[in-house]
Each structure stands twice: as structure tokens, then as C-alpha cells.
């Protein structure tokens, strides 16, 4: 692979992207002429008030929803439906209840026709990575919420996506598990060198993980804002710069 091709892996370009829904006969603009370039290997975090279109944007990037206008290119090719270079981690783990943890994690590889043995070995590697080696043979209903979510993350990683799309993946977790998982996500992102696009409600999570934060406005007359997070990693939540950035983000939402 040449250097230029390597640099292209997982690059996203969004041009004049618009999407509206009709709700009770009223037209609802959710995305309006959005332009955005996401760099290869970047961690972009999307925040915004409830209903500001975060999930909609992520689903369009995933190819689960189509835009009304504009286009999304990934590594120079227009997006048309789901694609093997993208994996999605939803707010719920979405595990198949009749499969064990190991079988759930091999699911993506099974679909792609990997031989059973290789798929299992690969899956075990990622199950270990998310710290669930002792639970490979457990069924989903025997797991806690955080464990189930980690299984979903392992499953997404097995298919080696260039782009990982995450919609509030830690939203349902308790505060302690959440912080541990944020550290885990940060480590996985660095180790797998994947482009990560993550939606969250949690501003601290945004600053902890992001290279840049995209703030989607509720009022579509306003343009979205991009905020650079130029803090060294690993990030210290109590550092002055961290706290200052948090204040700045809060101000974006009109809160001080």
C-alpha cells in the first residue's frame, strides 16, 4: 500500500448535506447544508441538544438512512448504503440473545465468510481486548449492561473498520463504568488507528476523546460549530485547560 493510499483510509467528506423529516404535516429540517471533512484516523465527537440531528447524521454516514440532498464521500467514493469499511456501535448492544459472547463477536466475520477457526481466534483476541475473556461462553442475558456493550464493541472491531460510528455507546452506563470505558475507547482508537465518529450527550466525554467537537445547533438557521481540542493525551479531566474547554462548550449551549 502506498503512502497516499494509506493516508486516505477512513477519510470522510460531507458536502451540502441536508435532511428533513415530515412530522405531523410539518417539515422539520434536521440537517441543512452541512459541510465537514473528517481526517483519516481522527476522533470527531458530535454533541448537540436532543433532536438536533446527531443520530440522523450518524445513520446517514452509516448508510442506514439516505440524505435529501448533498453527498458523503468515503476515501473518495460516494456512500451508497452500508459498507464493509464502516462499523456501527449503537446505544444498545444489539447482541443476538441465542448466541454466546464468542458467537456474537464472530458474527461479523461469519457474514464475511471467514473460516470458523480463524474467525474464533480473531474474536477471542478482541474479547480479551475488552476484558471479557472469562465470559466468552456466557449468553447475553447473563451479562451486565457495560459488559454487553463491550461485546458489541468487540464485534465491531473484529471486522477491522476504517471508520467506527458510535451513537451514545456509553449512554446507558453508570458513571464509574463509563469512565473506564472512555479510557478503553481512547486506547482502542489509538491502537486500531481507526477514524472514530462518536455521538454523545456528555461534554466531558467529548473533551476526553475528541480531536475536534462538532456542535450541532437546534436552530437550523445557525451554522454548526467546530471546536478543536488541543490537549495532550492521556487527558486529565481536572486540568485547567480541560475545565476551560468544558466551560466553552457549556457556553455553546447557553449554559454558564
Amino acid at each position: 500500500m502506498s503512502a497516499t493510499q494509506a493516508a486516505l483510509r477512513g477519510e470522510v467528506s460531507i458536502r451540502r448535506l441536508s435532511k428533513a423529516f415530515t412530522l405531523n404535516d410539518r417539515r422539520l429540517d434536521v440537517l441543512k447544508g452541512l459541510n465537514l471533512d473528517i481526517r483519516s484516523g481522527e476522533c470527531l465527537v458530535i454533541v448537540g441538544a436532543s433532536g438536533s440531528g446527531k443520530t440522523t447524521l450518524l445513520r446517514i454516514l452509516a448508510g442506514l438512512e439516505s440524505a435529501d440532498a448533498g453527498e458523503v464521500d468515503i476515501d473518495g467514493r460516494p456512500v451508497d448504503g452500508v459498507g464493509a469499511e464502516r462499523a456501527v456501535i449503537f446505544q444498545e448492544p444489539r447482541l443476538l440473545p441465542w448466541l454466546t459472547v464468542l458467537e456474537n463477536v464472530t458474527f461479523g466475520l461469519d457474514i464475511r465468510g471467514w473460516p470458523k477457526g480463524e474467525a474464533k481466534a480473531e474474536a477471542r483476541h478482541y474479547i480479551e481486548l475488552v476484558g471479557l475473556a472469562d465470559f466468552a461462553d456466557a449468553y447475553p442475558r447473563q451479562l451486565s449492561g457495560g459488559m454487553a456493550q463491550r461485546v458489541g464493541i468487540a464485534r465491531a472491531l473484529t471486522v477491522k473498520p476504517e471508520i467506527l460510528l458510535l451513537d451514545e455507546p456509553l449512554g446507558a452506563l453508570d458513571a464509574m463504568t463509563k469512565i473506564a470505558m472512555q479510557q478503553e475507547l481512547s486506547r482502542i482508537w489509538r491502537e486500531e488507528k481507526v477514524t472514530m465518529i462518536l455521538v454523545t450527550h456528555d461534554l466531558e466525554e467529548a473533551i476526553y476523546l475528541a480531536d475536534r467537537v462538532l456542535v450541532l445547533p437546534s436552530n437550523k438557521a445557525q451554522p454548526p460549530r467546530l471546536i478543536d481540542v488541543d490537549l495532550p493525551r492521556p487527558r486529565e479531566r481536572s486540568s485547567a485547560d480541560f475545565v476551560a474547554l468544558r466551560e466553552e462548550l457549556l457556553a455553546e449551549f447557553g449554559l454558564h
Binding site: 456501527v88 444498545e92 449468553y139
Partner: protein, 281 residues
């Protein structure tokens, strides 16, 4: 603490363990008896009441013979009497009908569950058929198929088709759309999604349908045999009553009850094996 003390306390400890073991054993046994009593106590009381009701004078033994007579009649009937042949005939009828209902109902339900428009079109007709008692249609089936085996098997088939068909359709439709979307994200096509997500997701509902269908098949079997047959366990209930062979009549009824229980447990057992993810602790 001296060494003797330690030894003494060790010995005491061992004894203590032994008696604790005995105590635990006793407690386990008691608990088992308690469990059995709660599970089967009422059943045993019922059997005892049946057995001794006549002798104690509050049951008319001519109408309700003691349980032991019924069991004897059941044994004789199965070993050397008419029940052996009747059982074979009944099992064949119910088996063919239930088998056909399963073989047609499950695949049809799987297809219809995935085609919302087709399902919506056919649903009113299905509901109408389901609400029309198969027994009421039996004369029609006799007209069409004659008084022989075919009409009997067909009425049982007809009645037991709907529970399994409707349960399968429901099972397919209730499969979580979010799981299907997840499979799509990993690149699964329609057939793979069906095989890996929809079908396994519908299995618990399909089993509910199977149990309902089996119950319905037995019910219809008895009705059909009572109405127009000269063999079969259902026929034997009527026949024995007509000939005043009351123990044989009760034996036939007990046999039918046992058939129902056996079918239910067989399907439950199969479900436990196939759906371990759902039941195991």
C-alpha cells in the same frame, strides 16, 4: 492454645462437620418431600379421594369406579383389550394431522411473516377461518371427503394448522428490527438475515404455537372419533359408556389425558434443548 487443644478442636470440628452433614442431609430430604408435596400433594389427595370415595360411601362406584379398577382396565385394555388398537389408530390420525399442520404451518408462517402486505391481505380470511370452529366445518369435510379416515385427519389438521401458523407469523413479525439492522450493517443479505436473525428469533413463539397445535389436535381427535368412528380412543370413551363398561370408559379418558401430557412434555423438552439461551440459569 496447646497442640492437644488444636487436636481436640480439630476432632470436634470433624464431628461437627459430620453432624452438620447429617443435618444437611436431613434438611435436604425434608425439603425434597416438601417440594414433592407442593408439586403433587393435591394430585395425590385427588387420587386417594377417587380410590376410597366409593368405599367411604360418598361416591357411587357404579358410576365412578375406584382408581385401581380404572388402572387395571387401562392395563388390560392396553395389553390384551381394545385400547391397544385404538391407541394406534388415534396416534396415527393425530400424528399425520399434526405433522401436516407443522410441515405446512411453519414454512407458510415464516414466509407470510416476512411479507407484510401479503399477510395484511390474507389476515382477515385467516381470522375468519380461525374463529370458525373446525367442528362446525366437519360435516362439510365429510361431504367433500367422505366418512373415512381422510375427513377425520383433515378436520384435525385444519384445527391445528391455525395456532402454529399464527404463532409463527407473530414470531417472525416480533423479531427486533434493531437486530436486523445490526446484521445489515455487517453486510448480511436477506437470506442470511432470515437464517441468522429472523428464524432463531421466532423459535420461542413457534414452540408456543406447537404446544397449542398439539393440544388442539388432541381435542379435535377426540371430537372426530366421538362423532363418526368405530375405532380410536375417543370412540372407545363413547363405546364403553354405551356398553356400560365404566372402568374402560375411564381408562380411555385417562389415556387421552396422558397423551396430552406426553405431547406437551415432549415439545417442552425439545424447546429446552433448542432454546438453552432462553431457559438455562
Amino acid at each position: 492454645m496447646t497442640i492437644q487443644d488444636v487436636n481436640a478442636s480439630l476432632a470436634l470440628g470433624a464431628d461437627g462437620v459430620r453432624s452438620a452433614n447429617a443435618g444437611a442431609f436431613g434438611r435436604k430430604a425434608l425439603q425434597l418431600i416438601g417440594d414433592l408435596a407442593t408439586r403433587f400433594g393435591v394430585l395425590i389427595a385427588f387420587a386417594l379421594l377417587w380410590e376410597y370415595g366409593g368405599r367411604l360411601g360418598f361416591l357411587n362406584s357404579a358410576v365412578i369406579p375406584p382408581l385401581s379398577d380404572v388402572i387395571a382396565a387401562l392395563r388390560d385394555g392396553l395389553v390384551s383389550g381394545p385400547l391397544k388398537e385404538d391407541l394406534g389408530i388415534s396416534l396415527t390420525r393425530a400424528g399425520i394431522a399434526f405433522g401436516a399442520a407443522t410441515v405446512i404451518g411453519i414454512p407458510l408462517g415464516l414466509v407470510m411473516g416476512q411479507l407484510p402486505t401479503a399477510e395484511k391481505l390474507i389476515d382477515p380470511l385467516l381470522q375468519l377461518f380461525r374463529q370458525t370452529s373446525a367442528l362446525a366445518l366437519y360435516p362439510v369435510f365429510i361431504l367433500l371427503l367422505g366418512l373415512g379416515e381422510t375427513s377425520k385427519v383433515f378436520v384435525i389438521f385444519w384445527a391445528s394448522l391455525f395456532p402454529i401458523l399464527l404463532a409463527t407469523i407473530g414470531g417472525v413479525q416480533e423479531v427486533d428490527g434493531k437486530l436486523i439492522e445490526m446484521a445489515r450493517v455487517y453486510g448480511a443479505r436477506r437470506l442470511t438475515i432470515f437464517r441468522r436473525v429472523v428464524l432463531p428469533g421466532a423459535v420461542p413463539q413457534i414452540f408456543v404455537g406447537l404446544r397449542l397445535s398439539a393440544t388442539t389436535a388432541l381435542l379435535m381427535l377426540i371430537a372426530a372419533e366421538m362423532i363418526g368412528a368405530n375405532h380410536g380412543v375417543g370412540f372407545q370413551v363413547m363405546n364403553a359408556q354405551y356398553n356400560f363398561q365404566i372402568p374402560l370408559m375411564f381408562a380411555s379418558i385417562v389415556l387421552l389425558a396422558l397423551l396430552g401430557l406426553a405431547a406437551n412434555y415432549a415439545i417442552l423438552g425439545l424447546q429446552r434443548r433448542l432454546c438453552r439461551w432462553n431457559s438455562a440459569g
